[in-house]
Amino acid sequence: MADVKMTKVKSIKTPGEKVKTGLLTGFLNLILILFSASCIFPLVWMFYSSLKVKRVFNADIIGLPKEPTLSNYIRIMTNPDYHIGGSMINSVRTTVFSLFFIVLFGFIVGYILARIKFKGNRILYVLFLMGMLIPVHSLLVPIYVVFNTTGLGNKWFTLIIPYVAFGLPIAVFLVEGFIKAIPVELEEAAAIDGSTFTRTLFSIIFPVARPILVTIAIIQTFSCWNEFSFALVLIKDSALQTVPLAMTMFKGQFASDYPKIMSAMLTTMAPIVVLYFVFSKQIIKGMVAGAVKG
């Protein structure tokens, strides 16, 4: 995503034109800076407000804290009833397992669909294509019914099932497109050397496909960590709540204590925020690639 570079077109400008360009420059920069600031301001505001106690915050919602205190953080982290730490562990576990299966299955299915001719190849392809078209929220009620009747609801692994299923279509397509673009000679050479299908798949193709698998992992990390609606209908036990679900419960309990809510939100957002700002270039690239190709 290199910035578009333009060679400067030198032209003779009158002072009037110079002022006009200057004003335009200021105006354009101002608008974009305001927009960028609006994107980051909530984070900054929540951060310094979370260092205030409720009384101070209610008296002055926008000012910087005069006596910053970590009491909100200490209170939310030491009370196990709030499930802050627990929900983060649940979210990490769900996300990691989901990522593992999405990448693994996406890789296998994508590869087979791209390379192996068999009856039903195209049918399978269309089956996965449909997965991208089906509006997820039309499945909230039926998935609740199915999971409850089969006894799969409200377990530690419950959410991994829909997350993997709904992450698969995009993974399959990205892998399929990627594999089709690499020359088949690689596998032919491996075959001549007597490599089995499984070995070729995992020790030869897998490393080659790494960039696309990283892209898939990036997209799915965010969507699994942030997913809310399946968690809402499938999880009843508060000990199994993921972060977004725990946050809605937390907010219900402390509707009036904003600094406390903010400290909880920042704590649970921290992993994803740190991840984003450390790897923002790769993350943005991956998300864009996924969106456009998907």
Partner: protein, 319 residues
Amino acid sequence: MIGTRPAFVKILYSLEEAAYYMLRSIKPKGRTILLYLCVPVVWYVFSVFIPLITAMFYSLFEWKGGPQKSFIGIENYISLIQDFSFWEAFSHNIYLVFLCIIGQIGVAFVFVLMINSRLVKLKGIHRTFGFFPSTVSAVSIGFIWMMIYDYKRGILNWILEITGHADQTKVWLNEPGLVMFLVSIPLVWQFIGYYMVILLSAISSVDSEIFEVAELDGASAFQRAIYIVLPLIKNTLLVCVTLCVAGNMKAFDHIYTMTEGGPGTSSMVMAMYGYKVSFAQMNMGYGSAISVGIFVLSLIVIGGMQKFLNALMKDKGVE
């Protein structure tokens, strides 16, 4: 010539051998393939298609979630067609779609033009910061904006007070006429940067000489935007519009967090309505019919939008 013949034959022979191995490995046994495919496919079908079929099945029953179900045929669908609340919710989805196409893609396009002009500094910062909200969960975004709209401690009322408009402060999310617009703002704002980055990457893949030549030829910034940039990134724009439509047909998380569809049904969207009927009123049979309704309507809107856009692009001749 004669001396080279055996070597030539040898090569041919080894090629044949290679082809044999190749076929065996590239076309592995059907059983291997089946083994590899069965777990993912069963997993996928179980979580996507089984629920879909289940929804169609239960939508034909009167079922309040308990053990008792009674078959009532298409009665649920007849009530659905006459259900004012459902169609009101649908109209809110459509409202969101249009607001987001203008507010997200339109604004993102303007920002892209601005960033792309030589006058703007800090491009990297705009990209990183602008993209950030789209990586945050909808629940967090909903909270942040609830705090902004809050009556006593909200930033919006605080701004109104310090600018001397204290009489206009409101309990914002309790205004039936305003609430749909207010809950749309976070949605729009969250993804402006997302579309901006997608469009930026589309433009950066275009040869920049095109823009320079146009500028030298005296095309104004507006002309360049409409006649050069727009056709060049047409396909990416189409992708963005499709993403935007699909994303807003399933709007749920933000609205659940901020208003749960209230006050009354003023900010109800389809997914929220389906959730309320199924889980608050425990009307699972009718809820299933609503799910099927959401499914069908979303496909119609997304498909229709794509047809419409393709036709529009053809008319304009910017193939």
